[in-house]
Symmetry: C2
Subunit: 315 residues, 2 copies
């Protein structure tokens, strides 16, 4: 009872129902007339009903045939639409990308990149969640985001991860600070500085805490969540801070200076995080590709800056 209909046969029948002429219908289907005739006959056998009344001179639909022709038209249209839709999605002309990214990344990298993506893939809906690492991972886990751009969280083993960038840390201080004119500083040189911390829940703080244990510094006791607040505190001379490169745009003010901090392990890797064994939609894959290309460019850019810095110091 499991019949096999081919969309081809249905299309042929629709064409025949339209022009009611085997020879012409066969031409339109790029078939010889006998082959076409056989195709229709097999269709009638498959559905086990007479769909057409044929005389050698005229072809007419039976009432059942007319009924079935409507259904066939619907099915053929639906199948063709499904394939067209599928192709659009596969080619990245349609679709949806949902990205979860750390606020710093969302604010620094992504805006320009998303604009570029949109011009290249105008049919794709973009969803962007800017959230802290844990929330980013949760979004991926729940399937609400196709992938995340995040720093290493508590537990990444349940995900597929790939590093795409290593973010470096910068000292943020006032221009009148002793280290402000330096191209770079080493971590131990911060001994004695008054450090303003980010809140304990941030990935930056979690990353820095163990490294700073060896560096004697005077604690300011200040702890903030928002980077603009931090910038204002530093500008007011209450202390200095360490922030990842990606957040530097918060600190581009005339009264502030930013200095690269060099230290082993003082690099924050950024990962692309995805669900294990789950493939990306074409649109998401295209988006990720663009992001990775940008990351590579950024890395080269960073290295260039570093080399230039070393040359400037006359090494």
């Amino acid at each position: 009872m499991t019949i096999n209909l081919s969309v081809r046969a249905l299309r042929a029948f629709v064409v025949l129902a339209d022009c009611r002429h085997f020879t012409r219908a066969a031409e339109r289907c790029h078939l010889s007339q006998p082959a076409f005739s056989q195709l229709i006959r097999r269709l009638e056998e498959a559905v086990d009903a007479r769909l057409l009344v044929r005389s050698t001179r005229h072809v007419a639909l039976t009432p059942e045939g007319a009924l079935f022709a409507d259904a066939a038209r619907r099915i053929v249209a639906d199948a063709e639409a499904a394939i067209a839709n599928l192709r659009d999605h596969a080619a990245g002309r349609k679709g949806r990308v949902a990205i979860a990214a750390l606020p710093s990344i969302a604010a620094d990298w992504l805006p320009g990149l998303l604009a570029q993506f949109r011009t290249r893939h105008p049919g794709v809906t973009i969803e962007l969640f800017d959230a802290l690492s844990d929330r980013c991972l949760a979004l991926v886990r729940e399937g609400r985001a196709d992938f995340a751009l995040a720093a290493p969280g508590v537990n990444l083993v349940e995900f597929d991860t790939r590093p795409i960038y290593t973010d470096r840390y910068y000292l943020v201080c006032r221009r009148d600070h002793p280290l402000a004119r330096r191209r770079s500083v080493r971590l131990h040189e911060l001994a004695g500085c008054a450090l303003i911390n980010l809140s304990r829940s941030s990935s930056v703080r979690q990353h820095l805490e163990p490294l700073l244990r060896d560096v004697p510094h005077s604690s300011t006791g200040l702890e903030v969540e928002q980077l603009p607040t931090l910038a204002a505190l530093v500008a007011s001379g209450l202390g200095v801070s360490l922030v990842p490169e990606l957040t530097l745009f918060h600190f581009r003010r005339p009264e502030l200076a930013t200095v690269l901090v060099e230290a082993a392990g003082l690099e924050r890797p950024i990962f692309v995080v995805r669900n294990k064994g789950q493939s990306l939609s074409a649109a998401a894959a295209a988006m990720l590709e663009m992001i990775q290309a940008r990351a590579v460019a950024k890395r080269r850019d960073g290295e260039g800056r570093a080399r230039r810095s070393r040359r400037a110091r006359g090494s």
Copy 2:
């Protein structure tokens, strides 16, 4: 660019999307696993997109595959519904029959027959137009009726016609009329009778007019449309009339008698009238079949009565 999808392949894909396991899906489709695998591979080639991510251990849908699976489910369901629907119609379990019939036939034959048809084909909608011949033919021509049961109208050549019954004429008179006790009369015996006519537009009148030209009868000048009126006029002693057998139920009153009229050509053929080269729906064909069977029974019945009449008169 004219791709061939088979519903079978789509169904296979749907099954696979449901259980995500080639071996089990193959079993459900009654295929060997390699054949099933090939079927899916060909489907992916046909739509030119990866629908599944296969590892030797796990099978997962790509986002595009999930999208297509929805469409496939829809198409498969639609195709199966279309076939089921078609079969229902072809088997007369569903459908619509529209009959156009002379009022006499509609009132005399059809009611019991339609009730019988309805019990046998409960899913079929029945439409009944009771109208005079010309209107019946118009309904068939317009496709609003599948067939008509009518007397020969002006122009039947445009239709396919088949006689199913020949209606005989009866004299309608009062019981005190000289001919009232007769089993049958010959047309010429009506000479001198006061005849009440039906209106000129009726097929009965058109049929009778030429035959009565040779019979000298006194005209009453009365002309009516409705048979109940005619019955009342005859009952009042204003004259007699000639009416087809099918209308006799109008004249079953204690004060009236009906007598078979014998004359060459004084028979009204009833035709089944259909559009040329247009086939009937299964439901309509079943209905027509029942009607014809009933007509045959009625004819035998009539002949029986006639034979009994002749015997009674001692021929």
